[in-house]
């Protein structure tokens, strides 16, 4: 299995070597753009659009977990915040705002006016801001929250950090869920509609146009919007990885003390990782809120954080292309693979235990191939470092590494 993978990888490498990298990426991009014409307009295209959003989230979490080595188990909090931002700024959630006339900034006709029975047009209440503005507002707000949630965890390491982020990931959706009558008993504004969630949510229109870009019958433009967001995310990720900040993240991941003594500012480096990682969670969250046409607290469960984490681990922590492969693989498995398994005579419906299947993958991957399918070279070295040392220290026993606090 692994030798097959290795030969496949060498072939892949020689193929990429013959083409200059920009050309290779351009080819991939053109294929991705033309994909909707292959996929048709049915469920495969819908699945692809969801997958693209998951790719953004996985790349965002990869900054925190893969680059900076901070295990974040509460990434769903940023998905929730991003989704609620579009829920607030692109729906009728606040009907009383601006005297019931609503606020409309570059919104589509459908989000601006409604036809009344007597033939006149009336303004739709609530805040309606153009999608392309809201996604960046969502990024900014989640980045701030990334810093706020990250700041108290700076002194924690390893598993304590993971549990604190998990707790944040559980608290944030609970606060949204319970803020149906003001926040903490202050005021009476309904922020979330409780378990019903916010629906409908405005869909996408270009800032210079009053028409929606896609409809349920023609999802292609939604796909291209998501693809554009993915390309933006990949671009930012690649530039960050090769930047001074990116090298600082990797240094912190490998050895915090050494990094600090070489002049890396730990606080700033970690907070940037949280902020940027969170921002992409909000970016994708806002898109999903709009695309799914509902923002509901049921979507924001711990399992989702682990779902995104599995994408990174299966794909290869720290490697952008590996993470993308992991995200596509898991998302498609979730959509198509598990229902297929249903035809096997196993006596239960595998879609109901999808999280169990992801858990199984996590376990198998971590035990057999912790570096993921497409590992980043550096990360692979780190993960296998213990094994060679363990062999050297065989006389003392294989416990020598267990107690070392290593990131």
């Amino acid at each position: 299995m692994s030798s097959m993978l290795a030969t496949a990888r060498t072939r892949f490498d020689s193929l990429t070597a013959t083409l200059p990298p920009p050309l290779w990426m351009l080819g991939g991009l053109i294929l991705a753009i033309l994909f909707p014409y292959i996929a048709g307009t049915g469920s495969l295209l819908d699945a692809s659009i969801q997958t693209l959003a998951y790719v953004i989230m996985a790349l965002g979490l990869n900054i925190v977990v893969g680059f900076a080595g901070l295990l974040d188990l509460g990434y769903v909090a940023f998905y929730a915040i991003g989704a609620f931002v579009i829920g607030w700024f692109g729906s009728q959630q606040f009907p009383d705002i601006n005297g019931g006339k609503g606020i409309h900034i570059l919104s589509s006709d459908r989000a601006t006016f409604q036809l009344k029975l007597n033939g006149t047009h009336a303004e739709i209440p609530g805040i309606h801001i153009n999608f392309f503005i809201v996604i960046f507002i969502a990024m900014a707000i989640t980045a701030v929250w990334g810093i706020l949630l990250g700041a108290p965890t700076l002194r924690l390491r390893g598993d304590y950090l993971a549990i604190v982020t998990l707790a944040f990931g559980e608290i944030v959706p609970r606060i949204f869920e319970n803020s149906t009558s003001g926040l903490f008993g202050i005021g009476t504004t309904d922020f979330s509609n409780g378990r019903q969630g916010i629906t409908p949510v405005d869909t996408i229109n270009l800032p210079w146009s009053k028409d929606l870009v896609y409809s349920d019958l023609n999802l292609k433009p939604a796909y291209w919007v998501a693809l554009g967001m993915v390309v933006f995310t990949i671009f930012v990720n690649r530039r960050l990885r090769d930047s001074r900040l990116g090298r600082a993240w990797i240094a912190v991941r490998e050895d915090e003390v050494a990094a600090a003594s070489m002049g890396v500012n730990l606080v700033r480096t970690k907070l940037w990782a949280y902020a940027i990682g969170a921002a992409f969670g909000g970016f994708a969250g806002a898109f999903l809120g709009s695309y799914n046409n509902t923002v509901n607290v049921d979507q924001f469960e711990f399992g989702f954080s682990v779902f995104v984490l599995s994408m990174i681990i299966i794909g290869g922590m720290g490697n952008i292309w590996g993470v993308i492969v992991g995200a596509v693989a898991l998302s498609m498995l979730n959509r198509y693979g598990l229902p297929e398994l249903n035809q096997l005579p196993i006596g239960f419906d595998p879609t109901s235990v999808s999280y169990g299947v992801f858990g199984f993958f996590l376990l198998i991957m971590m035990v057999l191939r912790p570096e993921g399918l497409l590992p980043s070279g550096r990360r692979k070295l780190e993960l296998h470092e213990g094994e060679t040392e363990g062999e050297d220290a065989a006389v003392v026993g294989d416990m020598s590494q267990m107690y070392e606090v290593r990131q």
Binding site: D159, G356, M366, M399
Partner: protein
């Protein structure tokens, strides 16, 4: 002892640091006591009732927390699947009663006998499961970076939770063998229910047995030695692998007992009860100072009381309620981990 040394060296050492140490050590317990006293002044009777519920419910969290604290003490790993081991304990108990045909109508001596037998079997099942988890998910990763076993632990937790989902897809009711809602006796106008008595009667002997085992037997000594320094323990002839297995077994036994008590205490069981219970118990373990057995018990009781007060829906006029309880408990977890990672009574850990 510690307090004495503070007064003696106050003039010699830097006083500001000593003061901050004292504040650090006593601030959180004091804050908790003040919070309770204020609530008591606010509504005395309700608070007493909450404290009663909290303490009896807290015994369940204490039993689960012991599993976390034992395992963390010895391998420095958060056994994330521990909550699911507890859930399986509940499921095994209820299934066994169904198989034996024991329900509310069974004669008293037979019922008590069945509870004891099922308790033993549920403990054994959970204990064995916990040992298996260690073998499959943690032992292969002893040499890996520290986060690797945490990730397999999460994977294991999801697998078990979904096993539970397939086993019983919907919430199931446990037979009300002990008449849990009936009052046993009343003190200060607070009704002590059968379930409260049952929880305490089962838990206390188990706690004493565990403390005795870890504190006074050869095996317990081996566990403590391994926790302190596994390499040195191995050189002294201790079978470290076996000792770690034993630790997981003990943790699993306690979780199985907690599962049975939970089923009878609450009357309903469901496949995802382990997730929340696990996090609550982990909070308790951290609060008591992870690795500290007595601390875990006290932490469990404290968390139980916090939870009961939050559940009852009115804290000093603040409109809480069951829907806020998870957020409150997780908030406490964050506060403790960030501001006092060594726990209320703990010493500095390697983590802190």
């Amino acid at each position: 002892m510690e307090a004495a040394s503070i007064t003696e060296t106050a003039s010699a050492g830097p006083p500001a640091r000593k003061l901050s140490d004292v504040v650090n050590a006593y601030a959180l317990p004091l804050l908790l006591v003040l919070a309770l006293v204020a609530q008591f002044a606010h509504s005395p009777h309700d608070t007493l009732d909450d404290v009663k519920t909290g303490l009896s419910n807290g015994t369940i969290w204490a039993l689960i927390a012991l599993g976390y604290t034992l395992v963390y003490g010895i391998v420095e790993l958060i056994n994330f699947a521990h909550g699911e081991v507890f859930m399986i304990g509940s499921f095994v108990s209820v299934s066994l009663w169904a198989t034996f045909g024991v329900d509310e109508g069974t004669a008293m001596p037979l019922m008590i006998g069945s509870i004891i037998v099922v308790l033993a079997l549920a403990m054994l099942a959970s204990g064995t499961l916990n040992v298996l988890i260690e073998r499959v998910a943690y032992r292969p990763l002893r040499n890996a970076p520290k986060l690797a076993p945490l990730i397999t632990a999460i994977g294991m937790s999801f697998i078990l939770q979904n096993v539970g989902l397939l086993w019983r897809p919907t919430p199931d009711s446990a037979p009300d063998l002990i008449g849990s809602q009936k009052d046993y006796f009343t003190i200060f106008n607070v009704g002590i229910e059968h379930s409260d008595v049952f929880a305490v009667v089962v838990t206390v002997p188990l706690l004493i047995a565990l403390l005795w085992f870890v504190g006074s037997t050869r095996y317990g000594k081996a566990m403590r030695a391994t926790a302190q320094d596994p390499d040195a323990a191995r050189l002294m002839g201790i079978d470290v692998d076996r000792t770690i297995q034993l630790t997981f077994l003990l943790g699993g036994l306690m979780a199985g007992a907690a599962g049975l008590i939970y089923a009878l205490y609450n009357g309903t069981i469901r496949f995802n009860q382990g997730f929340t219970a696990g996090l609550i118990a982990f909070t308790a373990a951290v609060m008591g100072g992870i690795g500290n057995l007595k601390g875990a018990v006290i932490g469990g009781l404290i968390i139980g009381v916090i939870q009961a007060i939050s559940d009852s829906g009115d804290y000093l006029g603040l409109p809480l309620g069951p829907q806020w309880t998870p957020a409150v408990v997780f908030g406490v977890l964050i506060m403790v981990m960030v501001f006092r990672p060594q726990g209320l009574f703990g010493e500095e850990t390697r983590e802190g």
